[in-house]
């Protein structure tokens, strides 16, 4: 290429038909990509502007105060923040072993023929809309849970023990724990799908050599597969966490929607997203709207950092 002098007369050739549109097309594509960035930036800016009056008025107390009172116009986000973190963490603890089990089963033990249909069925769980989970949770899971778990537990716990405090709550099944249970079902398929993808990236030679020296499948998974995808696994966990943090409708149905810090596992509570969903259209004044928008900003900051870490870890795994 470099041998050809740039000044040499080139054979004349008509420009391609429609070549004039090339830069315009490229610019349109670039603008579309930029539009996506602008949308994300717009979310941050609009939440910051909308929530500023509340943050300005209540200062750092906004994050530590548990009062949420539209009548006296005093707003503190501690209750919803705690509710969000507790439900998401619980959901993660419940969903992680199951998601690992499902993906290991599909990759290692399941007969080829059955693996694909089962994988699709599990992924269909991810397709069910949030509001359907909410209805199912409120009308099916909550009554069942109250009758078969909550009441027996309350009856059989010795009075005055620690457990009485842990399991205290109105026995209607709408509480922090059932909300976490629903969240766990919702994030399970995402985590299982990405775990499966990760496990499939482990080179066959590595696994086969472990089998070759006489490892059982359990030992291969524990000592070869899982260490091989370690940083990716943290990414998947964060991805699940990110989903759980922002989940709105299902939680709104079942968490009981009480402001303030949840006092026990079976107490009703609220999350950032459920508080916004419940109150935004009925907000009583400017400050109420601002406080709700500030909740949105808090939620954005939390989920954005979690998701950013997740994506970065998954990206690194893919490049390794």
């Amino acid at each position: 290429m470099a041998d050809i002098p740039l000044t040499a007369p080139r054979p004349t050739r008509a420009a391609s038909k429609g070549a004039w549109f090339d830069p315009i097309f490229q610019f349109a594509c670039l603008s579309a990509a930029t539009l996506l960035l602008a949308a994300l930036g717009g979310i941050i800016v609009s939440l910051a502007i909308g929530g500023w009056p509340a943050l300005h008025k209540f200062g750092l107390g906004f994050f530590t105060d548990t009062t949420w009172n539209p009548v006296t116009e005093v707003y503190g986000a501690a209750g919803p923040i705690a509710g969000t973190l507790i439900t998401s963490a619980l959901a993660l603890i419940l969903a992680l072993p199951i998601a690992l089990g499902v993906s290991v089963f599909l990759v290692e033990f399941c007969p080829r023929r059955a693996a694909q249909p089962i994988a699709i069925a599990v992924e269909l769980l991810a397709g069910i809309p949030s509001i359907v989970y909410g209805m199912w949770g409120l009308f099916v899971l909550a009554p069942w849970f109250a009758l078969h778990v909550q009441l027996p537990l309350m009856m059989n716990i010795p009075a005055g023990s620690v457990w009485e405090k842990v399991f205290y709550g109105v026995p209607n099944g709408a509480n922090i724990f059932t909300a976490s249970l629903i969240l766990a079902v919702m994030i399970l398929p995402y985590m299982a799908a990405v775990f499966r993808e990760l496990f499939l990236t482990v080179p066959a030679q590595v696994r086969e050599s472990a089998y070759g020296i006489g490892c059982t499948p359990f030992e291969v998974v524990r000592s070869v597969t899982i260490p091989y995808v370690r940083s990716g696994m943290v990414g998947v966990i964060m991805l699940g966490l990110g989903r759980a943090l922002g989940e709105t409708m299902a939680v709104t149905f079942i968490i009981g929607n009480a402001h303030g810090l949840p006092q026990s596992l079976f107490d009703s509570g609220s999350t950032l997203a459920s508080t916004i969903a419940n109150e935004f259209t009925e907000a009583t004044g400017e400050m109420h709207t601002a406080a709700l928008t500030a909740l949105g900003l808090v939620l954005f900051v939390i989920t954005f950092s979690v998701l950013a870490v997740a994506r970065a870890l998954l990206l690194r795994q893919r490049q390794d």
């Binding site: 072993p97 499902v102 089963f105 359907v132 099916v140 499948p217 991805l239 409708m249 935004f280 950013a308």
Partner: protein, 282 residues
């Protein structure tokens, strides 16, 4: 000694396999249980009235026509926007600037946007569209849904286009076609099935979204085709009716939930069939 150890390893392995199978069974039974309650509670409520009558006052006969039409219109608006933005952005990432620093930033933030809480999108569109124009509207709802669908389309478009062999692009250039003609007539055409699947999956994702519609499209008790006014949608009606105290409203909510779930699940399955076909094609 050795026998004992071998036995222990074998037992641990059997236990592990059993637990993994149990986990899979649990996940599948969750799907089964949810579908079973949906069918049990919702199937009885599905009749012609659902499609021909509007949402009723408590105690009178009605259906979900306005909500179904509203949902369809808003999803339509959203898909038009999302497909244009998403396919162009995905094309830029795959064909033009995907390996530049800016490309990495766009891809990374698009992935974040992909799993960002949908309620925040609703808040954003409220500040962007609803507040300046002083009113909830179906158009605002469509924009909110588009913001949720566009990252999905972008992601699948880039993934699919990157699977197209470079020889195809070279063939186009060798024929003397302009770059955008090559992309349009060769790359996009070759990736047609995949692009369709991306669109379908995005559509499935937004058709059940509730949170972003709550403060953008609001709701509407009556039949309306005007997208500049508050518009009813299936998820918003389900939300309102499910939490109401009236049995007939709850019945309608279950019927609506069944409709949405069946729609979303069948779109998902169709999408997967298209992908599977594409993979087996020589």
């Amino acid at each position: 000694m050795t026998f004992d150890r071998r036995f222990r390893r074998k037992a641990a392995n059997t236990l592990f396999v059993g637990l993994c199978a149990l986990a899979t069974l649990l996940a599948l039974s969750a799907l089964g249980l949810i579908m079973w309650s949906l069918l049990k509670q919702g199937f009885g409520g599905i009749n012609l009235n659902i499609f021909t009558r509007d949402t009723p006052a408590p105690g009178s006969i009605g259906g979900l026509r306005n909500a179904i039409v509203g949902s369809a219109m808003m999803c339509g608006v959203a898909m038009v926007i999302a497909l244009i933005v998403g396919i162009l952005a995905g094309t830029w990432l795959a064909e033009y600037g995907g390996d530049s620093a800016y490309g990495h930033v766009v891809r990374f933030l698009n992935d974040v946007l992909l799993s960002a809480p949908s309620i925040l999108v609703g808040l954003f569109v409220y500040e962007l569209v609803v507040r300046p124009f002083h009113g909830f509207s179906g158009l605002a709802g469509g924009v909110a849904l588009a913001l949720i669908a566009a990252p999905v389309v972008t992601r699948t478009t880039e993934d699919i286009l990157r699977l197209q062999p470079n020889a195809l692009r070279e063939a186009g250039v060798a024929l003397g076609a302009a770059r955008w003609v090559t992309i349009r007539k060769i790359v996009w055409r070759g990736a047609g099935g995949g692009l369709l699947t991306g669109g379908l999956l995005a559509f499935a994702r937004i058709s059940g979204e509730t949170a972003p519609l709550l403060f953008t499209a609001l709701n509407n008790q009556f039949f309306a085709l005007d997208l500049t006014k508050p518009t009813a949608s299936l998820p918003a009606v389900i939300f309102q009716y499910a939490l109401s105290a009236y049995d007939d409203w709850r019945g309608l909510a279950w019927a609506g939930a069944l409709l949405i779930a069946l729609t979303v699940l069948s779109i998902n399955i169709i999408g997967r069939v298209i992908i599977a076909r594409g993979n087996t094609r020589p």
